[in-house]
């Protein structure tokens, strides 16, 4: 198979106050023209992997190739073939949208007419034509992300890296951006995207790997991962710890995995949501237990983690990223938390 992106046992350790193994032997391959998802919580090594693949950071060991070119030895060639957008590769907030795109075009060494032409086309394509001559400080979060993505596309890259492209966006802007990414893939671009949201990986990625502490802990299609996990999560709140324990025993027969008791809440992943819900309620009724809450929901990254590792994601604990990047991320996360009720609800 022809791989557009290859990572072979990449290792990277950040030294400093705390030694952090950000990548601990990560390998994967991304087939040409497909979307590949790197799924994992904060500090799992996603961004470090992207930084190595985009020539920004040198790995301690291992090799990485983009379109067959080694990212270290042919760094400048690789840079001319890729586009990078995401939470760290920022746009310049003191320039206008057009100035940003034209600057990136010039730094990509495009010809003069191409520079202005591409900027104009991309502003239109990303619905920023009216805002093109406004300074970025006046842009909304969604507009900034669209411009960020546009900047990554200036030189028509064949391989695109998107580092958490929708983190911090409201649901509407996220949906818009997803549509843009989907249309890009239709055009034959190979995309590697990192995300914390199972929903996003499910919608966009053809294949994905789940990272945890710099290691690949699962890989496959989103469907396979979800099938493995169970398609739906049944979440039942109860009046007492004792009832929760009894309910967990009842639900054991329903689930694809052992039910998890979290205080007075019992969670179980099931294959057939409505049917399992009915069976579950019936068995509770027979035991005379009345639940205080009863929810069916899509599995989250947290559920994937629980199923794969037996523990929840640890978002703010031991970092696997360099400190400055993490600080930057924290600031954004705080803001993001308020705007993202849908997917962050499950991520503490």
């Amino acid at each position: 198979m022809q791989y557009s992106i290859e990572a072979d046992t990449l290792k990277k350790t950040f030294t400093g106050k705390h030694e952090v193994r950000a990548l601990d032997g990560v390998s994967f391959g991304v087939a040409e023209g497909t979307v590949f998802g790197l799924l994992g919580p904060n500090g799992s090594g996603k961004t470090t992997a992207v930084r190595v693949l985009t020539t920004i950071l040198r790995a301690d060991s291992g090799t990485a190739r983009v379109l067959g070119h080694d990212v270290e030895r042919r760094a400048n060639l690789v840079r001319s073939l890729i586009g990078l957008a995401g939470q760290y590769a920022a746009v310049d907030e003191n320039l206008t949208g057009r100035e940003n795109l034209e600057m990136v075009g010039r730094l990509n060494h495009l010809g003069r007419s191409q520079v202005t032409g591409r900027a104009k086309d991309l502003l239109e394509q990303f619905d920023l034509a009216d805002a093109g001559d406004r300074i970025l400080k006046t842009y909304s979060g969604g507009m900034r992300r669209r411009l960020d993505l546009a900047a990554a596309l200036v030189a028509r890259p064949t391989v695109l890296f998107l580092d958490e492209p929708t983190t911090g966006l409201d649901p509407q802007s996220r949906n818009d951006l997803w549509e843009v990414i989907e249309s890009l893939v239709g055009g034959g671009t190979t995309v590697l995207l990192t995300t914390q949201y199972l929903e996003e990986a499910d919608r966009l990625a053809d294949t994905l790997v789940v990272l945890d502490h710099g290691r690949v802990i699962a890989e496959g299609t989103p469907e396979a991962l979800k099938a493995d996990l169970g398609a739906t999560v049944l979440e039942v709140g109860l009046e007492s710890l004792e009832e929760a324990r009894r309910s967990a025993v009842l639900f054991d027969a329903l689930g694809t995995h052992t039910p998890v008791v979290n205080g007075t809440v019992v969670e179980v992943t099931v294959d057939n949501g409505p049917e399992s819900a009915m069976l579950g309620l019936r068995s509770l009724d027979q035991e005379g237990i009345i639940p205080s809450a009863f929810t069916l929901r899509e599995p989250s990254l947290d559920d994937v983690f629980l199923a794969l590792t037996g523990r929840r994601t640890e978002n703010e604990t031991p970092s696997t990223e360099d400190e400055t990047a993490q600080k930057r991320r924290r600031g954004r996360r705080r803001r993001a938390g308020q705007a993202m009720p849908i997917a962050t609800g499950e991520l503490q």
């Binding site: 001319s80 073939l81 990078l84 907030e93 990509n108 060494h109 300074i135 028509r156 064949t158």
Partner: protein, 274 residues
């Protein structure tokens, strides 16, 4: 180019390892980054303030508030002061180099630059070149204000311009030092805080505002031969007359030494900063 690319690309420049081609692109990229930085300065009110209003305030402060109590033999205080003000303003202005670079790192723009097929050096050369342009603007403003408050150089236009050149050379060398600070600081606030304790002794324990002969004996050696004073002395000699060659040679030497040490240091910091 020997490698084949599996998909078409319109990325303009062929990726040649030819030294001349690379040097040409390095210059083009430097110019692109320089323009971006100059544009940024015009849009950040604080940066504009530092480059325009602050120097004017210093001229007025020293001429009208402190000037009366400082005795300068052989010339008026305004004439004595102005070369000092020139060097002081470019020295304070160079803090902008460290703040700007620290901000670019912090906000992630340098991450984008690093993933682009541009010359790596352009981030630093574009920054220091923009600062040079800003310093030229500052010096023009200070010159105008100086003439208004009574500055009267005595040597002629060419010597005056040579004096400006000496200052710009020093300012350019200093920019690289503050680039090192900006690349080492975790954020722009720290970059700013760290910069001033380095600048203050250089600027104030110098011949900028007070003749060195009026300072305590133990300070006079440092205050005479440190780079800020040497640059001021060269500038004073060129603008007001007096023994010139000695100071000009020393100031050129200082700028050269600073560049030889600071440029590789800044490049190293840029390379190793993750």
């Amino acid at each position: 180019m020997t490698t084949t690319i599996s998909a078409p690309t319109i990325s303009g420049a062929p990726h040649s390892d030819n030294v001349m081609t690379r040097a040409r692109w390095a210059m083009v990229d430097t110019w692109t980054i320089t323009k971006r930085n100059i544009l940024t300065y015009t849009r950040i009110p604080e940066a504009l303030f530092f480059s325009t209003v602050q120097p004017i305030m210093f001229v007025l402060l020293f001429v009208y508030v402190f000037g009366g109590s400082i005795h300068t033999p052989g010339t008026t205080y305004v004439n004595y002061l102005m070369p000092g003000i020139f060097v002081q303003t470019v020295a304070f202005g160079s803090v902008q180099t460290s703040i700007g670079l620290a901000e670019d790192l912090q906000k992630g723009i340098i991450e984008r630059f690093r993933a682009l097929p541009m010359a790596r050096s352009a981030v630093l050369t574009g920054r220091t070149t923009a600062d040079l342009a800003r310093n030229i603007l500052t010096i023009i403003i200070v010159t105008v204000v100086g003439f208004i408050v009574g500055f009267r150089p005595t040597t002629g236009v060419l010597a005056y311009l040579a004096g400006i050149l000496v200052i710009l050379m020093f300012a350019y060398a200093l920019s690289w030092g503050f680039a090192v600070i900006g690349l080492s600081a975790p954020n722009s606030e720290v970059a700013q805080v760290v910069s001033f304790p380095i600048l203050f002794p250089l600027v104030f324990a110098s011949s900028a505002f007070v003749p060195v002969s009026q300072m305590p004996g133990w300070l006079q050696g440092f205050a005479t031969y440190q780079p800020v004073s040497v640059t001021i002395s060269a500038c004073r000699a060129l603008m007001l007359g007096g023994p010139t060659a000695k100071w000009v040679v020393q100031s050129v030497l200082w700028a050269a030494v600073l560049l030889v040490v600071l440029v590789p240091l800044a490049v190293h910091r840029y390379r190793t900063r993750t």
